[in-house]
Amino acid sequence: MRPLAGKRILDLSAHCAQQPHALAAAMAGKLCALYGAEVVRPEGPMIDPTQPLGRFLDAGKQQSTATGFNAAIGPVFDAAIGPVFDAAIGDANVAGAPILLRFSVFGPGQDPAMSELGLLALSGLLGIVGESHRPPAALAGHQPAYAAGLAGCTALLAALHAGGPETVDISLFDVTCWLNWKVAAAMMVMGEVPTRGGSRADWFTLPASDGHIALVYMEKDYPALRDMLAIEDPRFETRAGRLTHRAEFETLIRPWFAARTREAITREAQSRRIPIGPVRTPAELLADPQYAARGFVGAGGMPAMPFRANGVRPHG
């Protein structure tokens, strides 16, 4: 699949004023390259192309120095991603692109200094993740920026599909809040204030003999979980009981998990259709059988486009 074959897209991620914007723009540009566009990325200060971050985000893009970009590439672009104007590269080429994709913190022109941690905090997505007795946890990596990049790419594709001039704005804050809709909706719809590790916190990780597993289950799965762990205490028969006596419940079940490997736990749980899974690291996943069977991780650890179209992964 190469839906953007023949399209030329200017990726100004390296010239964004702030890192969240740069990472969002770079992710949108990366996806466009995987969809077959010629993506031109003028070099800039925000993303080092020699580091893993730059190598991941800039794979498949055509690198260009600012000077070379102006002189050699000319004004014909179908779309531009990033700041609309940048003194270092001039705006003539950007102005020639009929479709502009821009990122901001709160909306066009509302760009206070911001980090991804700040976006997680302001959106509530920091405060809700983690155990109640521990600090909140920030989702690893660059989730707010990358999610904005995904949204930006979808919108850019829609604009290209529709044709004609368009300016698409992506608010990093709106996207992060959109991801955290359950918390917002709980307040607006039910009048509830969900809290970290609160009444719904019956999913958590537990130590196994060789790492951790994620204990994840719905109420319908509890009889199978109870049988697997040989739990006999009637206090834990209901969800309310398990939440009320969470510490005792955890103390009771910990030894069963700690005595087994992640693989053994997963095999036993999955045989009972309990959605428990092993916590795996990226290093372990480089040789993961599922990923290997589907050809997901390429040379140098580079993840491929995370879908296949008629059995083939788009690859630019």
């Binding site: 700040g118 997505l125 368009e166 958590f204 059988p289």
Partner: protein, 339 residues
């Protein structure tokens, strides 16, 4: 004002809960016509998410369901019944896109598997959103969103350096949220490809792969022998007294649900909008300057559009009446609430 980008595109939505259903909602927001298909014995679990009161039409009163599915047309059709399967095929003959996140293999049992549909409808774009993808040794692994955080690598890097790995849990279920932003784009890309080639396609999207993809630099770092440790809030960052701090002197309040919903930025933003009837609705994470997007319609009651959708699919009044008489078309579930 220019037309919405996906004006004229028809989507059949077999998406449940968030991953499938919210993908279709984004396509709706971009201008597509979306028909949500549920069976009288197989409703979207969001209809019964927080319990249901016996004696009331609970299936039409779930705010969680309405939040995500506002504006879609509703068809209640029993896909386990061969007559329902035939009606579904008639509907798909008029469609551009099918979005589904059923358990792998279920649609095949009903003659609605991707391979069969691709053969019957070569221009159809089929988006299958699954935990692991269509094949591989773990294809049938049972997973919820937070299971995928564990198996994708995300949990291993989330949390304090000296604490356990952390999953986002039931209140977030992160992989189920973020996949919608990507899957909707993949569908638009497939529609563009169809314009180029005349052919639809089957999109085989693994949520686990996407979650790993969003840690791509960590895979590259691991492959070069410099894997990152779990490091809490990141270098130079801290959280103290409900305030997050980052290098360069920046800070922001760590908001809870109340703080978020009462903030000016949230209220003027687009993450949560309102349906025309005033109820809170899933928002739209992008803004178009020449094609303003909005929530145009309320949530439809179950089966409210049975007649219109089946008529558009080419069924006559007698066919539709027969399906209703046989319980294949319905406007309420066969059974009571499951909680």
């Amino acid at each position: 004002m220019a037309e919405a980008p996906l004006k004229g595109i028809r989507v059949v939505d077999l998406g449940w809960l968030t991953a499938g259903a919210a993908t279709s909602t984004l396509l709706l927001d971009l201008g597509a016509d979306v028909v949500k298909v549920e069976g009288p014995g197989a409703l979207d679990p969001f209809r019964n998410w927080v319990g249901a009161e016996a004696g009331r039409p609970w299936w039409d009163e779930s705010p969680w369901f309405a939040f995500t599915n506002r504006g879609k047309r509703s068809l209640c059709l029993d896909l386990k019944d061969p007559r329902g399967q035939a009606a579904m095929l008639a509907l798909l003959a008029t469609a551009d896109v099918l979005v589904e996140n059923y358990r792998r293999g279920v649609l095949d049992q009903w003659g609605l598997g991707a391979a069969e549909l691709r053969q019957k409808f070569p221009r159809l774009v089929i988006a299958s959103i699954s935990s692991q993808g269509e094949d591989g040794p773990e294809r049938d692994m049972v997973s919820f969103g937070s299971t995928l955080e564990a198996t994708s690598g995300l949990a291993s890097l989330t949390g304090e350096a000296n604490g356990p790995p952390i999953i986002s849990g039931r209140d977030v279920n992160y992989p189920d949220q973020v996949v919608c932003l990507f899957a909707s784009g993949a569908v638009v890309a497939a529609l563009m490809e169809r314009e180029r080639t005349g052919e639809g396609c089957h999109i085989d999207l693994s949520q686990r792969e996407l979650t790993s993809f969003l840690l791509g630099e960590e895979f590259v770092a691991a492959a070069q022998g410099t894997p990152s440790p779990r490091q809490g809030f990141g270098p130079g960052c801290a959280v103290e007294d409900d305030t997050a701090f980052w290098p360069g002197g920046g800070s922001a309040a760590v908001r809870d649900a109340r703080g978020l919903s009462e903030s000016a930025e949230f209220q003027s933003g687009t993450a949560v909008l309102r349906s025309p009837d005033g109820t809170p609705a899933k928002g739209i994470p992008f803004r178009f300057a020449t094609r303003p997007l909005a929530v145009h319609d309320n949530c439809h009651s179950l089966g409210a559009d049975n007649h219109a959708v089946m008529t558009e699919a080419g069924l006559g009044p007698a066919d539709i009446a027969a399906l209703e008489a046989g319980g294949v078309l319905a406007t309420k579930p066969r059974r009571g609430p499951t909680k």
